[in-house]
Symmetry: C2
Subunit: 259 residues, 2 copies
């Protein structure tokens, strides 16, 4: 796909995100309808569903032959990476959205034949958009992202999944202790923005494709490492542990995980 076509798509998706953010903000003080999914901490609200429908409708109009993988089920069954695949997380960090009305993100990604083309993470309340891909580079609210320093684990803060720390999965306690401190934000999107901006040297969590689809594209474009927590390649359709990290922190964490 040539770069002008990618720029055209980029401009279009940014328009959807602006409209989507406005829709969410307009309803943010209304009473939510909240339902649990797999457990009492896995939530979906009427706004997640409406926002996914809004974005899916926009994608279908714009790219009718594409398949869409959406968190809340208004997309398609996607079991192969062939062709255009859009990945949509209408509200990432739904628990934060429900309990805080803060610290949540809208995420969209476009993969073509399994290769990341464009990724978008919008911190809704912070009004902060990370966007881009290999053909364009990464942008932080429209400005080229300053490349984060390649900081090792012992000199940085690390973003972790709360449950992984509480269960000490993959030596998470040791990973936290070897860093300058752990942070737990409760939204993959918010954590990945922090890694991209150099505020965290790594983020580790159990994630679904819609949680990391955009972040994988943006982080790889920014020269960060993206794998499973034990260093395996990450398929765009995987539900697995994910580590996004500076090269040095990635190496440091793999050493601890392998112990």
């Amino acid at each position: 796909m040539d770069v002008n076509e990618i720029k055209r798509i980029d401009k279009t998706v940014k328009g959807w995100l602006r409209e989507s953010r406005d829709n969410v903000l307009r309803k943010i003080d209304t009473r939510l309808t909240v339902n649990t999914k797999s457990s009492r901490t896995d939530l979906v609200t009427n706004i997640d569903k409406q926002n996914e429908q809004f974005i899916v409708t926009k994608i279908r109009e714009f790219d009718p032959d594409a398949r869409i993988l959406g968190e809340e089920g208004s997309g398609d069954e996607v079991d192969s990476v062939a062709g255009h695949v859009w990945i949509v997380d209408p509200i990432d960090g739904t628990m934060n959205f429900v309990k805080q009305r803060n610290h949540f993100a809208i995420m969209i990604a476009l993969y073509i034949d399994g290769a990341g083309v464009l990724g978008y993470i919008l911190d809704v309340m912070g009004n902060h958009l990370l966007s881009g891909g290999p053909a364009l580079g990464v942008f932080d609210n429209g400005q080229p992202l300053e490349k984060a320093a390649d900081t090792p684990l012992r000199e940085g803060l690390v973003g972790l999944s709360g449950p992984m720390v509480l269960h000490d999965d993959y030596h998470m306690v040791n990973i936290a202790n070897r860093s300058l401190g752990m942070r737990v934000y409760g939204s993959a999107g918010i954590d990945i923005i922090s890694v991209l901006r150099g505020e965290l040297v790594a983020y580790i969590s159990y994630l679904k494709p819609w949680d990391f689809g955009a972040g994988k594209i943006l982080c790889e474009t920014a020269g960060l490492k993206v794998t499973t927590v034990d260093g395996q390649p990450l398929g765009m359709l995987s539900s697995t542990t994910v580590m996004l990290a500076t090269r040095k922190a990635h190496r440091d964490i793999l050493t601890i995980v392998g112990q």
Copy 2:
């Protein structure tokens, strides 16, 4: 002290905070001089020190007979609560400030004969000020704070100290597991703002007087409970565990701590 005198002080302190924030923002992209204090994670920078000197100078001009307790040593030795005692934390969350240039706070409190009169927590990058005290009420960027619901632990998110979770002090892992999720933000000021706004039902950490001086006044004024983690009263000069929580979450956490 009559309410007009308190309003006069309030207006003055808000002016210091605006000027202090401008000073910090002007220097935020400069190279910091960072020194460690008690450990490799206990930091102080040239900006912490300059900002404390700025605030302490303002207080000395305004209230020359007061004593000042400051984190970075430009205040006085304060070993009794008599008279006017100002408590200053020029940069709360110095690790976040150094590593993220984000998620840190400036905090000021005024106690008279041990009673909280005025408290201020300014989220510098979010430009978000929580202010007030028993005579005025609590304000969120100048608007009366909406009273947070009295949510129990099992229905809320809980803000915890990273080290306390990693050492499982006072059954922190159990406390996190009984909640809807733990969050670790790395700045008492940012956590306490979240409790005041109802985004967290509790915050627990080991704190020094400058970490909780303002928060204790604001939370008590807002009807929240403020004690040590095992429910003891909190002296304004204590260095101890601190729990700031809704009444229901406070009761729930005490039950777990006492097990």
